[in-house]
Amino acid sequence: MLKHYLEPQDMHSAQRMGLKELEWELVLEKLGHTPNLTELGMFAVMWSEHCSYKHSKLALRQFPTTGPRVLVGPGENAGVVDIGDGQAAVFKIESHNHPSAIEPYQGAATGVGGIVRDVFAMGARPIALLNSLRFGELDSAHQRHLFSGVVSGISGYGNCLGIPTVGGEVYFNQSYTGNCLVNAMCVGLISHDKLARGKAAGLGNRVLLIGALTGRDGIHGATFASEELSDSSSTKRPMVQVGDPFMEKLLIEACLELIDRKVIVGMQDLGAAGLTSASSEMAARASTGVEIDVACVPRREPHMSPYEVMLSESQERMLLVVEPSRVAEVVAICNRWGLSATDIGVVTDTGAVRVLDGSEVVAEVPAQALASAAPVYTPAMQVPSWQADVQKLDLDTVPLPADYSQILLALLGSPTIASKEWVYRQYDYQVRGDTVVLPGSDAAVLRIKGTPKGLAISVDCNSRYVYLDPFRGGAIAVAEAARNLAVSGAEPLAVTNCLNFGNPEKPEIFYQFHQAIAGMAEACRALETPVTGGNVSLYNETNGKAIYPTPTVGMVGLLTDVTKRVTSGFKQPGDVVLLLGDTHDELGGSEYLKVVHQLERGAPPALDLVREKALQKLLVAAADARLLASAHDCSEGGLAVALCESAFPLGFGADVTLENVNQIRLDAFLFGESQSRVVVTTAPSSLAALKDLCEQYNVPCRELGRVSRDTVVVRVDSTTVIDLPTEDLARAWKGAIPCLMSQ
């Protein structure tokens, strides 16, 4: 009797596994014979959208990916940029949206685990984590459950690893009600000579599997991640994967020791598509083959078939390639860390991934075919029928507020703007002792021990802008991420990104996808921040309704002298408050329109990349000359919210007078979200030098007033429009999320 995993398959089973008719034919062609179940399963996961990028590959080519600092660009486990002195930063962002929607704690936890493995697989010591989270509105108990579960999952996993979670963002919007987004970013540090590659090089070298036992976790998780959620997903979901951060911590230490001692040839994490993907990618990169005996793979459960072993997505495992003479040494190092290390195969020159079960060959597939021969699609695109309509906004129909103070309080209490302390106080953001700017400012800053340098990191995306105008929204996401680094005094270096979109096979979605990338690419070129990698998460739809297109941008920047970092909080009463950049008569896509007028429409704010670049250069130069006491960019909620957020950290106030605003609506001046603007403060003695610098960089600069003791006062000419104690404003801002979450 034929074992089921050896049975030849037909097109129907291919379709059940998510392959299309043409893909099935291509499988037949690449393989030269009819695949058995195991072989077909391997193709199905590797050719899923999640692993093959078949719908997104072409569009991604728009990104600039090279630059003087880029050491490793897209294609490896994580990007690598030079930061001088023989050191490099390694970083990547990845989504875990679907698993988190089903089990928020474990979904988020394993998301962190996955991204951390990508970074130490490069040989880097992970030094920071960030996350970008999006949920529906918090008035729903289910959304609160997702939000708190995701945050505790990140906390439970990241804290245990001893990697500080230093920043992130959280948005609440109805478009994420059926499809929350959980994007996790990890940054690592490495010296150039330690860089590891995921290559199965060297004929006869051994293939070792280390870490957790293999169970029936997430089989077909990769294909699952590429499908829309529907009401029936809860029944066909794969088994929930449970993360074991303790195991991961041991893996980190063991793998870094292996790199340090130079005893391995190649290393790769097992993520989506498990052993299939790790083995075929390692072989493909080295143009070799590998032979794996699944009978050797240590298992958690009895009676697993070769198919299940090859497709298992059990967490906390790594694949190593080791010269035969060093196997014993590698095993000893792993064992010292309490990890099992098992020899499961060998590097061959056949170009194939050959799977044995003891002495029986159960699958034999060309590695290149699995890793890189998936078809590449050019999906159709079409401007959404509603696109032009949502951009229409007649400001004459939007009444001016009667009471600006009340509006400011409402904005500060809007969960998207409100303090995220409820989130980050659950994260250990200080472990390792290098966090110089803690969560709560614009970018996180870490010092690099043994050097004067610092790394600044941020993640950003205002997806409402992208929904209203994908090109401009994409560009703004990049500009804002870079701006958050620049206000901290850091020079932006490079980008990683996580593209969360709906079903790309729908022309309107693919239009969003393509245009957002085009906009991001343009901003990346203008700001000289190439893309070094990222992740695509498509099919984020529930019952046919897509999320707001959300291209999350993660960015890393460099401070040559970390003591020159700038934070967002006012430092001293009497300091001069200035607004850098121009304000326009813009309200489209603003949080103000949403919160106060229940409108999510209009054109998002304009972005002039030349001005943006000038502003950022100025900020870095001003920080370098120690002219800035504080700096905070204007984002959601505009100038008024930025002033308050600068006042909160030390409880000071601001006494501000706006003059010559007559051509701009007052609500737009106060709450509009014009780009390329930053609120800075400076000591009176540095004012002249700062103004000179602004002139030199051609950045408009408007003196607003002074930092005051404890009240935020805004006057327009001589009329007071806002006058509230900082304490009251801070209460609204700090209390909003805890209050919603304690319902």
């Binding site: 089903i102 089990e103 474990q106 957790a212 169970g215 029936r216 976790d217 809860s234 979901r237 088994m239 929930v240 994967q241 449970v242 993360g243 074991d244 303790f246 195991m247 958690r300 459960e301 059990s314 967490q315 309490g338």
Partner: protein
Amino acid sequence: MYKAKIWVTLRQGILDPAGQAVQKGLHSQGFGGVRDVRMGKFMELVLDATSEREAAGLVRETCERLLVNPVMEDYTFTLEVHG
């Protein structure tokens, strides 16, 4: 009034890192003969109900709504008259 005792266990096949760690700990303590350690939760609660049937319904509802994670856990319970 009834007192409910509820046992919540991880579903078969789901990784139990705590159980694994405890098992390893026991082995290194010389308890080599211990196997298949699984960690679960145990809850006791008192509830207002006029019949065992009603009490059982309530326990099921609380388990499914809050106490048990339906994608990973199973539960059983017992009831006894209380007070």
